[in-house]
């Protein structure tokens, strides 16, 4: 126990790797064995995170459970781990969603071993981003997560669908989506990589807490330019890399493709956790490293966020593909996260900023739950009908009442119905941003209206209206395993909606200290 507590973060970070290695040694034709071993192993990081959650002292400021070992001596980079309230929430989200996603993948039959191994590597990459307090290793894990995701989309993505690329050449849609995802994100990270190199070259260290001090106290000229200009450029390099990942309008175009083509569990993790990496980057790095620049450009960021909210909702409303509809809803919901961050950047240190940031972090967690749930539900019906076209469904409620109930519940959480989790976080963001960006927030309300519209459209097309006779007798009800995936999500949605203070107190502690 002593050992576990002393190395808790290292253990959380590397148990997925260990799980991947264990899976490698299982016989590849034993599908059942691999599935269950993977599921059980994926519970270990979750249990460790629960220990972390209860051992975490909410009253202490700063990072806890810190560990530091030299990794790359010549660059003065060290393996430095630590959690505060923000990263703790994200780690909980990651380790919670991974077992559920693995459970959701039980219907996969093709090369299940490689699939599970990639999934664990993906989990490690995401956890590394949330846990690292070293800029270089932050980037290492940031990039590393791309690789498993690329292969998950490229190899296990939906088999139907083609995309025409230039010169009339037709390639499978999943190839198109995975390459777009990879190249888009890598190109976006290029500026981040260069900025990180520059910061390291200037500061001589990659340790994030140290950089908060040394990088901010820099003055004079760098590379023949005033420091403020260099910082502004570096700010945008960071901001664009993270904005692509969030994604903020107009950098979101990779997302609908990647989400739509990814296997169900991949979409769950993509929407549930990967998008949070971008928002987390803003919170952990951009705001503390560039407070002045962030304040200066906060208006622009808020504008982009409002655009994401409105256009995300409108685009979502315009979709006929159920999965694409849910994918665009992510753009819409993540817009609120960015709006909260922008408001906080503008009014650093005020009460309103704190409220907005609390809302933003909680919205990250909530969107993780509801988006994962929605994608899973889309996957459930797709597996049965082999279509995602909303016009092919219709009036399915009498055929699959349990599924219908769960779908409506999750949709309502996503919509922001009071009493469920989405309402709390969106309200906090709006309440915090209103005094800071009144007009933008008012515009975002329009977006919220369309959120209602597309969610109701989804429900209506699938469950209500005239029954599509084609499905009578061909559609089976959601099974026990699938319900089991949804139960933790539903419980959390309800719990946060009714009594959010258990998680908000953890978030607020970190927010109050940093901002």
């Amino acid at each position: 126990m002593e050992f576990i507590l002393n190395n808790l973060l290292t253990l959380i970070l590397f148990t997925p790797l260990l799980a991947a290695v264990i899976l490698l040694f299982l016989p590849s034709d034993q599908d059942r064995l691999i599935r269950w071993v993977a599921f059980v192993l994926s519970l270990i990081p979750f249990i460790l995170t629960l220990i972390l959650w209860f051992e975490f002292d909410q009253t202490l400021p700063g990072f806890q459970f810190e560990q530091k070992k030299v990794w790359y001596s010549a660059l003065n980079s060290s393996f430095h781990l630590g959690v505060d309230g923000i990263s703790l929430t994200m780690v909980l989200l990651t380790t919670l969603l991974t077992p559920l996603a693995i459970l959701a993948s039980f219907s996969i039959h093709d090369r299940i071993k490689a699939y599970m191994v990639l999934f664990f590597l993906l989990e490690m990459g995401m956890l590394g981003v949330f846990l690292m307090l070293d800029l270089l290793l932050f980037f290492v894990f940031w990039e590393f997560g791309l690789v498993p995701m690329y292969f998950l989309i490229n190899q296990w993505g939906s088999e139907k669908g083609e995309r025409e690329v230039w010169k009339g050449k037709v390639i499978p849609a999943r190839t198109y989506a995975s390459v777009k995802f990879m190249i888009y994100t890598m190109a976006g990270s290029l500026g981040l990589l260069l900025a990180i190199q520059m910061i390291g070259a200037v500061s001589g260290t990659f340790d994030i807490p140290e950089l908060f001090v040394s990088w901010n106290s820099l003055s004079g000229t760098l590379f023949g330019l005033p420091v403020s200009v260099v910082k502004s450029i570096a700010f945008w390099a960071f901001a664009i890399a993270f904005a692509i990942k969030v994604p903020v309008w107009p950098f979101h175009t990779w997302l609908p493709d990647a989400h739509t083509e990814a296997p169900t569990a991949g979409s769950m993790i993509l929407a549930g956790v990967l998008l949070k990496l971008g928002a987390y980057g803003f919170l952990r790095l951009v705001l503390p490293l560039y407070p002045d620049e962030a304040k200066y450009f906060a208006g622009a960021l808020a504008f982009l966020a409002v655009m994401a909210i409105i256009f995300g909702a409108l685009a979502s409303f315009g979709q006929d593909d159920f999965k694409r509809l849910v994918a665009y809803s992510s753009v819409n919901h993540m817009g609120f996260v960015v709006l909260g961050i922008a408001a906080a950047a503008f009014a650093y240190g005020t009460q309103d900023a704190h409220i907005a940031l609390n809302g933003a972090v909680l919205q990250m967690f909530n969107h993780g739950l509801s988006a994962a749930g929605m994608f899973f539900l889309v996957g459930v019906i797709y597996e049965r009908t082999h279509t995602r076209n909303l016009n092919d469904y219709g009036g399915l409620f009498p055929l699959i009442p349990v599924y219908g109930g769960i779908l409506i519940f999750t949709s309502m959480a996503s919509l922001g119905l009071p009493g469920l989790n989405g309402f709390i976080s969106e309200f906090l963001v709006v309440r915090g941003s209103w005094p800071i960006f009144t007009i933008f927030t008012a515009l975002a309300m329009i977006g919220l209206f369309f959120t209602g519209a597309y969610i109701l459209k989804g429900i209506k097309q699938v469950l209500h209206g005239p029954l599509n006779e084609h499905w009578v007798g061909h559609l089976s009800e959601i099974n026990a395993r699938e319900i089991f995936v949804m139960v933790p999500l539903i419980v959390l949605m309800l719990w946060i909606g009714i009594w959010p203070s258990w998680i908000l107190s953890v978030i607020n502690n970190a927010v109050a200290m940093w901002f």
Binding site: Y72, S73, V140, W142, E143, F144, Y150, M186, L194, A201
Partner: protein, 498 residues
């Protein structure tokens, strides 16, 4: 007297090569076994030398010195420091794995291995030589067998052309460098070719500035520097697999290393003066090489041009003339050597089965050779500088070195070089992804159905071995960084601590 480990490493291959020639030609298995044994000995000894090098003491170790031609001040002198120890290890690794994947060579394997081993001796010799004359001596030994290996065992379509082109390029380069070296020998007035002595020769600044380009470019031709890179993709493609591995994996490092050892270390003032414009050439290497690689349709040409691009990063690291950049260059030499050896091995395996290297006509090879696909993906990730693999820990310091760079004149910092060079990362990612998805994924063309098979066990061992090195380096850089850093410190002292 201490155990002459370096001499044994240098001469094991050539002696083994000569012994192999004594084995009757038809006893192919014995020939191969003997070759493998020699490769194993060389690799184990270089591993031993690598790990028993004492970083705390630093400097040149395992030094051996015998007078060779005292009248001219030539002596056989060898030693390793942090800069060449990884390269010796690299040569051992490539030699060992090269033998493993050449197991299937059926056309005169005896002569093939003999020439390959003469080549290996030349390469080992250049890396460990501390005497300028001996360095040239081994350098020519390394270049000559290359000609025969390519023109006899190479790809039938271009082998004569490529072998001729390669040899002429390299000979011209070495002649130019030799002229520079002779000028240094006479001007120093010390009557010695001992490089440790020449390091303290105090050449005048003007002299250094005039001679430096000759020496540097003479060797850098072999390092594939733009615009003299042209021989290398042709040479890579025409060579048989094991020779390509040697060629891209080790020989190109030979050029970069000699340019450092003779050019930068002996003529530091010249280096400071010329590097600000040479860095532009290396930038062209990096970006242009990546672009050219991305439009090739021949699998092997893609890898050939990617080597040009990646070797550009090595010269770029040297050109920064600061500690971080040099460190990155040192690491990149090892990382790229292992990576490209793996690439060429994979290309060879695919070609042996498919008898074509045209990317559009390949596909679905992961189904028949899953391990090869995984190995190529790992190499590809190294190539695109993906964190967690050796490419990242090598390229990152090169870029940091650029950000830290303080050119002697011409530019106000190298920040713009870093920004432009970063483009190559995305280009590299795009062509690697293209190969992965076109060659290894997708549908296996029907004409290959039943005709292509998985590779032999020895091939797999070689691939796993190479992949493991890249992952270990990437995850745990401390295994190599302090060693290379100690070598870089020596270079930095010669450059005036800058």
């Amino acid at each position: 007297m201490q155990f002459p480990i370096l001499s044994i490493i240098v001469f094991t291959p050539i002696i083994a090569g000569l012994l192999i020639l004594l084995i009757p030609a038809e006893r192919k298995t014995e020939i191969r076994m003997a070759a493998l044994a020699a490769g194993a000995i060389a690799m184990l000894l270089s591993l031993w030398a690598y790990f028993s090098y004492d970083i705390a003491v630093g400097g040149y170790q395992f030094i051996e010195k015998y007078s060779w031609l005292p009248a001219l001040g030539i002596s056989y002198q060898v030693g390793i420091d942090g800069m060449n120890a990884p390269l010796v290890l690299l040569t051992g690794i490539v030699m060992f794995t090269g033998v493993m994947i050449s197991w299937g060579i059926d056309d005169r394997p005896r002569e093939f291995f003999a020439f390959l081993f003469i080549l290996a001796t030349g390469v080992f010799g250049v890396f460990v030589s501390l005497d300028l004359f001996m360095l040239f001596f081994f350098y020519e030994i390394a270049v000559f067998p290359m000609y025969l290996l390519i023109s006899i065992w190479g790809w039938k379509v271009t082998r004569e052309y490529a072998a001729m082109k390669l040899t002429l390029y390299l000979f011209i380069g070495s002649v130019v460098a030799l002229v520079g070296a002779l000028v240094m020998y006479f001007t120093s007035g010390m009557g010695t070719f001992d490089m440790l002595a020449l390091e303290n020769a105090n050449f005048s600044v003007t002299f250094q500035r005039i001679v430096f380009p000759f020496v540097f470019f003479g060797f850098a031709v072999l390092g594939g520097i733009f615009p003299f890179h042209n021989w290398s993709p042709d040479g890579h493609v025409a060579a048989p697999t094991a020779v390509s591995m040697f060629h891209a994996g080790v020989l190109m490092k030979l050029g970069a290393f000699a340019a450092l050892r003779v050019g930068i270390m002996l003529l530091p003032e010249g280096a400071k003066f010329h590097m600000p414009w040479i860095i532009v050439l290396t930038l062209v290497n990096v970006v242009y090489g990546a672009f050219i690689a991305s439009v090739q349709t021949d699998f092997k040409y893609v890898i050939g041009f990617s080597s040009v691009s990646h070797m550009g990063l090595v010269s770029m690291g040297f050109a920064t003339l600061n500690s971080t950049g040099m460190l990155g260059a040192g690491l990149q030499m090892l990382s790229h050597g292992v990576m490209t050896a793996l690439f060429f091995a994979v290309v060879g395996m695919v070609y042996d089965q498919a008898h074509t290297r045209e990317i559009p006509s390949l596909g679905g090879f992961r189904k028949v050779m899953p391990l090869v696909a995984i190995a190529f993906i790992i190499g590809g990730l190294v190539s695109m500088g993906m964190p967690g693999f050796s490419g990242f820990i090598a390229e990152f310091p090169i870029f940091v070195g650029l950000w830290n760079g303080q050119p002697a004149w011409l530019w106000n910092g190298y920040a713009w070089v870093a920004i432009i060079a970063a483009i190559s990362i995305v280009i590299t990612a795009s062509y690697i992804i293209r190969i992965i998805s076109r060659v290894f994924f997708g549908q296996l063309p029907s004409e290959f159905e039943g005709h292509v098979h998985d590779v032999a066990t020895l091939d797999k061992v070689a691939l796993v071995f190479l992949s493991a090195i890249m992952i270990i380096m990437g995850v745990y850089p401390s295994i190599i960084v302090p060693l290379v850093q100690s070598g870089v410190d020596h270079v930095m002292r010669l450059l005036g601590g800058a």
